[in-house]
């Protein structure tokens, strides 16, 4: 069972014939609106996030005063650059992201040429399967169309076939069905979602052996039963996230100490011992020397657990052979109800 990896699966599709698009397309919201949305499950991210974690869970904005470069303070990044552009970037073996724009010059030219028809035209992303070929605009293996709202200016496309190459035209379809390309994207080659079928004579490996090696390499162990092509899926399902960090038995960085919704109370007690003596006297508290302030005062602070503390405070004069001892005795008892 050998195939060439990049050969497109064109079995049921005649070249250059339009596909009925069954692709699922997720509508995009404007970037600014979604900026604070977390799409990655936080449980998958903890350890990687830890290095950016300071304990702050809310916005740190008040602390980050704005740029001191006065003339930039009120500038915003331009929403558009008045250019004809469409860029395609790989998200994973199935999906790619595209963003686009059309310059006012091009838009006006189209309006002038097409007149009223332009206003009724629909914006389309036409995706061409250009695997293993030099695309000249008309020799794609197949293509499919996706209607888009021009103003979204970005879209996720599901090509659904790992290992294939794609190029996308942003264009308009006219009421008569004609498609006009406005701008053409770069070409991307989606990665495979499993091992290549291409083998190298000099470095041959039997399928069974390869399956064991694969299983070991991705953390599934040598005794995997799935066919080679499904192993990556199996690994993803097992949630061995790439750095293998998923849900360690520890709380999440953005979790407060106590769960929200669970009413809670924490109480603790500390004891402050303070006093004063001659500034050059020697003072000990529970036999440990204490550093006096310049004016002869001192303050100590202790966490106070349940039980009795006997706290002898002894001051010895620096000049005459004299000492004073004062001993506070403190007891703490905590009760809980319920």
């Amino acid at each position: 069972m050998k195939k060439v990896a990049k050969k497109p699966k064109a079995t049921e599709i005649k070249p250059k014939k339009k596909l009925i698009s069954k692709r699922v397309v997720r509508p995009r919201r404007k970037a600014a609106v979604v900026a604070s949305k977390h799409e990655i499950p936080l449980s998958d991210m903890k350890a990687e996030q830890a290095k950016y974690y300071t304990g702050i869970t809310g916005p740190s904005e008040p602390y980050y005063k704005r740029s001191a470069v006065a003339e930039l303070e009120h500038r915003q990044i331009p929403a558009r650059y008045d250019e004809d552009i469409i860029v395609l970037q790989i998200r994973d073996p199935w999906w790619a992201h595209s963003y686009w724009d059309v310059s006012s010059g091009t838009a006006n030219r189209l309006k002038n040429e097409l007149g009223d028809v332009f206003d009724r035209a629909r914006w389309i992303l036409r995706s061409y399967d250009v695997s293993c070929l030099n695309f000249d605009g008309s020799n794609a293996h197949r293509f499919f169309d996706t209607s888009v709202d021009f103003d979204a200016r970005n879209w996720y496309l599901n090509f659904g076939s790992p290992g294939t190459s794609w190029c996308v035209d942003l264009g308009i379809t006219l009421p008569d069905g004609n498609f006009i390309t406005v701008v053409r994207s770069n070409t991307i080659s989606l990665p495979l979602d499993g091992p290549s079928w291409v083998t190298d004579e000099e470095w041959m490996i039997p399928d069974d052996e390869f399956r064991r090696l694969y299983g070991m390499s991705v953390g599934l162990g040598p005794n995997v039963s799935s066919p080679v092509g499904k192993l990556w899926q199996e690994r993803l399902k097992k949630d061995i996230s790439s750095r293998g960090l998923a849900s360690m038995g520890v709380s999440s960085p953005v979790k407060k100490i106590k769960e929200k919704g669970n009413f809670w109370l924490v109480v603790d007690a500390e004891l402050i011992i303070y006093g004063a003596t001659e500034a050059d006297a020697r003072v000990t508290v529970q036999d440990k020397a204490v550093k006096l302030r310049k004016d002869g005062t001192f303050t100590l602070r202790f966490a106070l657990p349940d039980g009795k503390q006997v706290i002898p405070v002894v001051a010895s004069s620096a000049h005459i052979d004299e000492t004073r001892t004062i001993t506070p005795i403190v007891a703490r008892k905590t009760t809980r109800n319920p």
Partner: protein, 525 residues
């Protein structure tokens, strides 16, 4: 008999966070915490191993942003200030916890950690890069580079000049810090796009790393899985990550750091103690943050935590190191028979996870290295360069596009919350390419402006910003950084194009974004 190799790789990285315009800056704590908890403990470990004449091998990337921060005067001074504050707090804690069973010894432990950190820091004249260099020069540590500011290459690929600039600027920075060219690179986020190896080759880089599926899904099929490196057509070698050993360390089932006796990362006295007492050690505006002093162990899933017991945790770390070694021995024995050649197990981790997240991580690593040295004869620690010198014959294939991020590709950095950045990034990259082309040879103010423009572009490209925006802590900071650097870049580019450079503005940027003083804007081609 040695039947295989273990290649431990730590990826040391933080984005460039340096704000001279503010007296105190929260996000700089990322660096200070990593210094105290990860970098200094690692250096201390290297020192102990050397003293005991253990001829260890380890590979570490120190990214150009991290190296730049570690060698920066201002940040060095600020770190010392930070550390002195912590030492003051730890002294108070030793006193405060006198009556509480088990806590005073912890306070003393932290006091010792901080005092020792300061001693080591001063001993290397506050320059930790020189400390790491010492162990590279001794032949124990192989330091590799990374993208200049950790830009994620697969999402920069439409303007290859930017990928090239990330590599070239990184290599120049490495040479400045380490006195020779880097042999290897850690691709930011392990993000590989077929063909990028050609760019690495231009800079003399001999090897890089990919996640396991980068090799496994490469074409043609890899005969040895991830257990031998491959050559790309460019001749640059790619090493594949072994998931098994990563899982051993990080998985929720077998993972070590989740052990109930290890220290709990999220219980910090910055949040636990009485407000007036802790106030001098949190944010100046009174918002509580972590201090680094943490008294509890993980204990279990509930919020009720037991006090940390260092002796028990230490035993656990030793046990886990033994377990890791045992599993590598078994793995290597199996593979040696199956492959008919000595396998290499490549185990890369984020450096900051050791010590910062997993408090006992550096201890575990030290136990592991010592045990491998004395307690077994099956596996040998190796660096990639050493391995390639011994095993020059390897299969040629094209690795698959991949990353080590969540789900294995680009989705972490390309999703609803952060996909808006690429339009601007690519625009700026294209503008930078034209500027470099239009000004092949220039000097004075214009040259400074062009160099600064490239600094701003690189700083905007850090993958950290998109990551943080996607994961939700410090989001506004990451958005602001992205926008600030882009705005600064576009203003500079306008000034350069109109031949009307605002020197005051330029000066201020050179003061604030002072990274890579050696930069040459012509790297962006």
């Amino acid at each position: 008999m040695i039947k295989g190799y273990l290649c431990l790789v730590l990826h040391g990285h933080l984005p460039y966070v340096r704000h001279p315009e503010h007296e105190d800056f929260l996000e700089e704590d990322w660096l200070y915490e990593a210094m105290t908890e990860t970098y200094i403990p690692l250096i201390a470990m290297f020192e102990r191993l050397s003293q005991d004449r253990i001829d260890f091998r380890m590979t570490m990337s120190i990214t150009p942003t991290l190296a730049s921060m570690l060698t920066d005067d201002l940040l060095q001074q600020r770190y010392l200030r930070h550390l002195n504050r912590l030492i003051e707090l730890a002294h108070k804690e030793v006193e405060r916890t006198r009556w509480v069973q088990g806590f005073q010894e912890l306070a003393v432990m932290y006091l010792n950690i901080f005092v020792n950190a300061r001693e080591l820091f001063e001993r290397y004249h506050r320059n930790l890069v020189s400390a790491f260099k010492r162990f590279q020069d001794a032949g124990n540590l192989e330091i590799i580079t990374c993208g200049a500011t950790h830009g994620f290459f697969p999402l920069m690929g439409v303007v290859k000049a930017s990928v090239r600039a990330q590599v070239k600027v990184a290599v120049a920075n490495y040479e400045k810090n380490f006195g020779r060219k880097p042999r290897g690179i850690w691709l930011p986020e392990c993000g590989y796009n077929p063909g990028d190896d050609e760019i690495l080759k231009e800079s003399g880089i001999k090897f890089f790393f990919v996640d396991s599926h980068g090799i496994l899904h490469g074409t043609p099929r890899p005969k040895y899985g991830v257990f031998a490196p491959v050559y790309c057509k460019s001749g640059v070698a790619a090493f594949g990550r072994d998931t098994e050993s990563s899982k051993q360390v990080w998985s929720s089932v077998e993972g070590y750091p989740g052990d109930y006796y290890y220290r709990e990362f999220y219980r910090d006295i910055g949040f636990d103690l009485e407000y007036e007492y802790i106030k001098p050690y949190i944010l100046p505006d009174g918002v509580r943050i972590n201090t680094g002093i943490k008294y509890f162990r993980i204990t279990g899933a509930s919020d009720e935590k037991m006090p940390y017991e260092p002796r028990v945790a230490r035993e656990k770390a030793a046990f886990h190191a033994g377990n890791f070694m045992f599993n590598r021995e078994k793995q290597v024995e199996y593979l040696y028979d199956a492959l008919g050649r000595k396998p290499i197990i490549v185990s890369p981790y984020d450096a900051e996870l050791y010590g910062h997240w997993w408090f006992e991580g550096p201890m575990w690593l030290e136990f592991l290295i010592r045990k491998i040295t004395y307690d077994q004869k099956t596996i040998k620690l190796v660096t990639p360069s050493e391995y390639l010198a011994e095993n020059p014959r390897n299969q040629v294939l094209t690795p698959s596009m991949s990353s080590w991020g969540w789900k294995g590709y680009s989705e972490v950095w390309l999703q609803g919350s952060n996909d808006w950045v690429y339009r601007h990034m690519h625009k700026a990259s294209n503008v930078m390419t034209s500027l470099a082309k239009q000004n092949p040879d220039t000097n004075g103010l214009k040259k400074r402006a062009l160099n600064q423009a490239l600094r701003e572009l690189l700083l905007a490209q850090s993958s950290d910003w998109a990551f943080i925006i996607a994961t939700g802590t410090h989001v506004s900071y990451a958005q602001r950084r992205t926008k600030d650097h882009l705005l600064r870049f576009f203003k500079l580019s306008e000034d350069i194009s109109s031949d009307n450079i605002d020197e005051e503005f330029l000066k201020e940027l050179e003061y604030k974004d002072n990274i890579f003083p050696e930069i040459d804007y012509r790297a962006h081609q």
